[in-house]
Symmetry: D2
Subunit: 364 residues, 4 copies
């Protein structure tokens, strides 16, 4: 029996440990994937600090890999493209099709999330921070086109798919819309990308530090607002109105998670405008917000997290539409499996836009 | 020159005064309407208490009347129906068609609101609390079908049209939806009516007092939640979840204006559900709300006030669809023009669901 | 081993034969349903005439039954309601969740349709025209509430679910819409039901014979147009315009399958209106249609067949909203399993609105 | 009193005549525009051949000009931007706000179309093929930003605005959509532009001749299909399926006006796909179309012509989003007022993509 290595979470705030695991025979209907690239997500770093996170666990839920073995039941990917060992793929657990959320078109209630399962139970290899990952029967697979780099494929499931979900739900970007993005992390960059692809006339990114804002401008942001220059909510709202003819933006996208961001966003939205909320994931309990802005400005607000199959398909294909933009630059830090703890540190110091693990080293 | 009487606001908190006005010749392109019924709106009562409200002013912006004179330029109503003196009509100022809000399909920036204009300037008669009202060139007019009572015609522009606007914006009621309505005033009753007409499977109304909830049940509410029995936000949320299988409602409609209502409504909405906010009009500044509920439950929120022409057309026609329901019972108090101050008092004591003025007395 | 009876298609135009089948042990993850009521669908009658239909086969794809046995894997139905033997259910094969159509929210490419599978391969019992039906792992199940009759449960999957799919896709019924339904068969009746539930102000049904139109009126149709009285497309279009103030209907629903119906419907639709096409299923090749009507009247057309899980859930619940309407009258003919061929004849003579088989006799 | 020149239609198929007209004082509330550039539209050429076209008439309904005089009532354009003589503008007659179509958000029933009014009645100058044009009270005006050329401003009201209307109605371009455009004239080029701006992954243009297809590729078309190479409907459909993995396009846009185009487009659309029909304006009576494709592939079709105010605003702003594309190349022929008949000939010979008149000569 072959073995392989994986980085294992062994308890809150303890360094991840590199351990050896057996590569068990595939489950019937399953597949075995040799990992290429996995992102260190903010969620991983957050979980790493929590006592409640089950240990041991192999993190890594944003992944690109190569099919090593594949069950005969799996003939094609979701687009009907023939699949063979050696194909690069994006993958997830398939939706059950039988729960209430599946019925109403929401995310499945029963889907397992790779990167969030215990590693002390077979088949052990259930996260992207390992050389191999075992997929249960029968996985949802999407082949990565040859002209799409690992970096772009990975970015397609970092924020960009969620943005596509959110933009679809809120009714689309209207051509020539003025868009304000709150936040300049990976989700904010996804918001910038997708708003531009969707036809926005101008995208204004508010965030920090200046290095990230420079990256935003290189990706097509028309203007940036540095929160070092506009340190208060009032100053940011005033600046946003100034940049939008006093009217506010057609579409505001919250991608910051800031404690005052929601109320700021409502104030930045124009009469009849729309506000997409993605960053407000951490539950801080009730914050401040003025609901009279909703009625008086006839605002639509849409919350969103995660994404469905069609958003992933589009997200991957959309990466090609960004052909002339230096999207790969969003991946700022690369680590070998053994150096995963350095990656966590870079993430915590806000040095990295996106840090990735290369569980099998740099591709040849 | 003829004269007529009108009830005039002469200063904050002072009794309205019945005054005599000349009925001036119609403006070219205008029309003269003999009033039948005008509602005392909460907005009127609110304005009556404000020092900032310009005086003198004839209130009354929810009106039904009869065309007394009509300019030759006005041949038809908005549906293309021939108009003649004697026709009952609903009316408003036409949108300008040239402002930004008109361009993007929102309410016109320039439209005058009858019932909110000074009476010391010609043509004086600009509100529904008078025997006549003067319409400027060229008004928006909708003929009231003969089989629709004054009461129903009036109710079509009390809340029901705004509900239709809101329901359209939030994506419609889905057939068999479970709907929770927060609030049991006139807007809450409009929410109940329109949700039922739109195909809701169940409508739960939360409000007070019991007399209003009984009226809600007579109009088709499946269940009611008396806030006397559930006096805290927590108790109301718990009850709402209990009534919806722990899942929350498909659609929640806020029609209460309560200080904690917005946060309660977010908690009452199911995963993937929708929340229409209408009652949060008074600007109390920032209140408490947890934006993490938006993302975690993928909620859509839509604020709304007022309505456009198509909503008024539909609202009037929808009144016929409520044929077997005792909608007229929503109008609980009727006053002669001279007794308008009694009506304001009944409104303030929350005795009246809807109180109306009959400026020319009860119709023959 | 137990046995049971089923009516079997044994070849084109030959009488269905009642045969004996073993009731095999359930598939792991599957369920065994004791049939209560199955509809004879036009599709069955059509298939019965075709040489290409595989034989032997047990027809019956619109079914209501009682859970006889259920795998332990199946704890709940799609709404999360606990399932136990004895529960009445509506059922279908679950979507795979991994094909392109599943990904984009369309009907699954891989789903098996019960009532369209060969009976000479185990587990044999795969259609509703038998005393039992074997469901594969892991089925999509929806419990029928106790206050919904078998008749209503069955009707919820005869046309009504497809209508809900179509109405959702075309953007909903707008409150107070004037709707024209072309056709007075089961689909036309579903269109009438769902348009009324969705808030239509008037529904005009065009069809024949008068007995069906009388049934339509008893279900709430405002007017009917008998094609015996209006035998030509021109006459029907003229009548439709006459009934809609010369403007045409807000929404036209095609449920007739007629050769000239599509062009008629385009002419009956108002400027800016919508046209839902359901009946045009048989592929006659190119027919006559004037596409200039689409642009000149800015019409939206939506084709539809079948329905997704959420439409079935809503369709079943919507049956309760029709509480005061004599919906059960749509089921005009009832047959024992042995008399299935009589049912086919009644269908062919257009005598039956909906004819059903009671494979285990009338319920006690 | 000043005079100016205009090209006048004096009867079917007769050369347009250059005539002298008085420049009358502006109507109260109106404006006087000095023309910069007017397009020769296919509609003009069509009208020129018709006996039914009223004469005399000054054609020209796609126009860019400079405000020469403006009534004091007109302070701002539709975006609220201050207007002054010397400003470049796009203009139209404002919607009335009181007709049924205005009420339901469709194009106004009463709006006059400049370029389609008699020139023998004051104020005579009512079309773009003259040095001046007189606008009635109170016009709809949109200022052209300084960084947008006359060519781009003009193109924003040639097809592009209609495309935006159509794309909005059909539910937007989905990111990464594969789009097929039928037709390579000005409307087809607008379809290409707007599909790309809206985020389409690939746009395939089918048309002729090769010079137009080369222009399409220079504007971003991924592939082109020359109808010289694929001369039959069957060949074009086969090619379209070949280019789309046998599945058909997510979105097909008809911009050809061809007699077989509608049926071809239905065949080119994927299951669950959408079909926007713009080119089918000429009423040839019933053509061939197979409505079974609508139901079997669950297709949505949307017809459209013209555009509303918000589409024009977006269309003008969208021209800036095409900054790196050689959009100006779509204007292939330029004529002085006196040479207008040469322009009509170039249009008829299909030599010109867009031919324009410069009524006051080339700008300095």
């Amino acid at each position: 029996m072959d073995t392989c290595k994986a980085a294992v979470f062994v308890g809150a705030n303890r360094p991840l440990e590199t351990q050896e695991f057996p590569v068990l025979p595939m489950e019937r209907g399953g597949a075995l994937v040799r990992m290429q690239m996995a992102a260190i997500c903010g969620t991983d770093v957050h979980a790493w600090h929590l006592d409640a996170t089950p240990a041991p666990m192999i993190f890594g839920h944003e992944n690109v890999g190569v099919l090593a073995e594949v069950s005969p039941e799996i003939e094609t990917d979701v687009l009907g493209q023939r699949l063979r060992p050696g194909d690069r793929v994006i993958f997830r657990d398939a939706p059950c099709g039988r729960c209430f959320r599946c019925a109403v078109g929401e995310s499945c209630e029963r889907t397992r999330s790779y990167g969030m399962l215990r590693s002390d139970e077979p088949p052990h290899l259930r996260g992207g921070f390992g050389q191999y990952i075992q997929l249960s029967a029968t996985p949802w697979l999407l082949r990565v086109p040859d002209d799409v780099s690992n970096e772009r494929a990975l970015l397609s499931v970092i924020g960009n798919h969620t943005l596509l979900n959110g933009i679809e739900r809120i009714g689309g970007v209207n051509l020539a819309d003025t868009v304000i993005v709150q936040g300049s992390g990976p989700i904010g960059m996804g918001a910038l990308n997708q708003a531009l692809l969707g036809g926005a006339g101008r995208v204004i990114v508010a965030g920090a530090p200046e290095s990230r804002l420079a990256l935003a401008r290189s990706l097509g942001a028309s203007e940036t607002v540095d929160i070092a220059d506009y340190p208060t909510p009032e100053a940011r709202v005033e600046r946003a109105l100034e940049l939008t003819g006093g009217r506010g933006a057609d579409l505001v996208i919250e991608a910051s998670g800031g404690l005052t961001a929601f109320q700021e966003g409502l104030e930045m939205t124009r009469f009849g405008g729309r506000y997409l909320v993605i960053g407000q994931w951490t539950d801080y309990g009730p914050l401040s917000a003025n609901p009279a802005l909703l009625t008086r400005k006839v605002i639509r607000v849409q919350g969103v997290f995660s994404a469905g199959p069609r958003h992933i398909i589009r997200s991957l294909q959309a990466m090609r539409g960004l052909v002339d933009r230096p999207v790969e630059n969003l991946i700022t830090h690369r680590y070998a499996l053994e150096d995963v703890n350095e990656g966590f540190e870079a993430h915590e110091r806000l040095e990295a836009m996106v840090a990735v693990i290369l569980p099998n080293g740099e591709p040849a």
